[in-house]
Symmetry: C2
DNA sequence: ATTTGTGAACAGTTTCACAGCG
DNA sequence: CGCTGTGAAACTGTTCACAAAT
């Protein structure tokens, strides 16, 4: 089954909203208040979910969460990730706890400077980038977090695609060209700021 | 003039692509190769741009870049930004050079721990979060980079909205509810990974 | 009474395909 | 002749509005 892109993004975010929602039931109207999304849209999104048809009382939060996790495969299987580029951003992700209670797990880091890979400490091994293909295949890593210099981004993306990576979280402002088998999420600070300001009509 | 959302995002990215493109001319077909976007779509996006109608030779890269920067207001006026939350991610952004040659400028940092704001060194002042409203108004800050703990995200977002912030780059996985006057860009690592994996049909 | 599920209308975006310009 | 600009078609996503369910 194919989940429409905008629906997928909403449901992923909704799962986080529900994880800190303490009531037992929730209505589509209440979700609209919490998120800003039209309630009819939410009900339509839920058509994809495997839940009992209810009414009058809204949805059971527990049941919703189980159905969301199942559809989005959030806790289905452990998904191994690596970080490429251990500059400031890469290092901060190395020590971040953000994905700690998720099904994603960091298992390797890479940097072209052997100095860095040797000096930095981490709960998982750090390798020179020359070993990228070897480690990704041996460890069966599916997702890559790209925090390299701009000039490195596209060459590394190509290598990642070649060894079968499924998705790249791209912290650089570069447009990565990869085969359709590889998904990319662009989350660069600079382009995010530019997207914000290009939207604001009133200059000065 | 209102720029359609998807067009805006493409043009912002395209500007980065062109900034490292060395030829003098470029065709919509070539841009398709570099980005994966359909060439007709690119030509349609360019209808918004203030450029000479040309043909047969493609577009002049210089002229394109000038028109893009004008439309997106990329170098029009200096846009002041602040970071809220000086944990690992906030600190790495404090020292990042990513936005250095852009029209965005970091001018303040905030953290609820006075310890951090006093111990960390930075090229611009760090304040306790109690001074958020005061500093944002005095400095006329328009954009905020949110790197606080999840529980803090919504309360801070409300305060930011109240003091007239135009846009928030949200590094947390929380859905921020703010008035329509405030734009939000969500770039959390966890939700990005979830978006990637929810898209991949083959589990296990 | 309240809230869901959904057909039908609407709105937004992309692609096709080709006339016309340089 | 190659490439742009664009009407028209196709597609995708959202909102409306109301019958059906509890």
């Amino acid at each position: 089954m194919e989940i429409p892109e905008p629906t997928k993004r909403r449901l992923v975010l909704l799962e986080h909203v529900l994880s800190s929602y303490s009531e037992k039931n929730i209505t589509s109207q209440k979700i609209q208040e919490l998120t800003g999304w039209n309630s009819a849209l939410i009900r339509r999104d839920f058509l994809l979910l495997d839940i009992k048809r209810g009414a009058s009382n809204g949805y059971k939060v527990d049941e919703l969460r189980v159905a969301l996790e199942k559809l989005l495969q959030l806790h289905a299987n452990q998904k191994k990730c690596c970080i490429i580029g251990l500059g400031g951003m890469g290092q901060s992700l190395l020590y971040s706890t953000e994905i700690e209670n998720s099904s994603f797990k960091l298992v390797a880091g890479f940097d072209s400077s052997v100095n860095r890979t040797e000096v930095l400490s981490s709960r998982f091994p750090l390798h020179p980038t020359t070993l990228l293909e070897k480690v990704i295949k041996e460890e069966d890593i599916h997702y890559a977090i790209l925090t390299v210099e701009n000039a490195e981004a596209q060459p590394i993306a190509r290598r990642l695609a070649q060894c079968g990576i499924k998705g790249i979280v791209n912290y650089t402002p570069c447009v990565l060209t990869v085969p359709k088998t590889v998904k990319v999420e662009n989350i660069s600070l600079l382009t995010s700021l530019e997207n914000l300001s290009a939207g604001c009509s009133d200059s000065l």
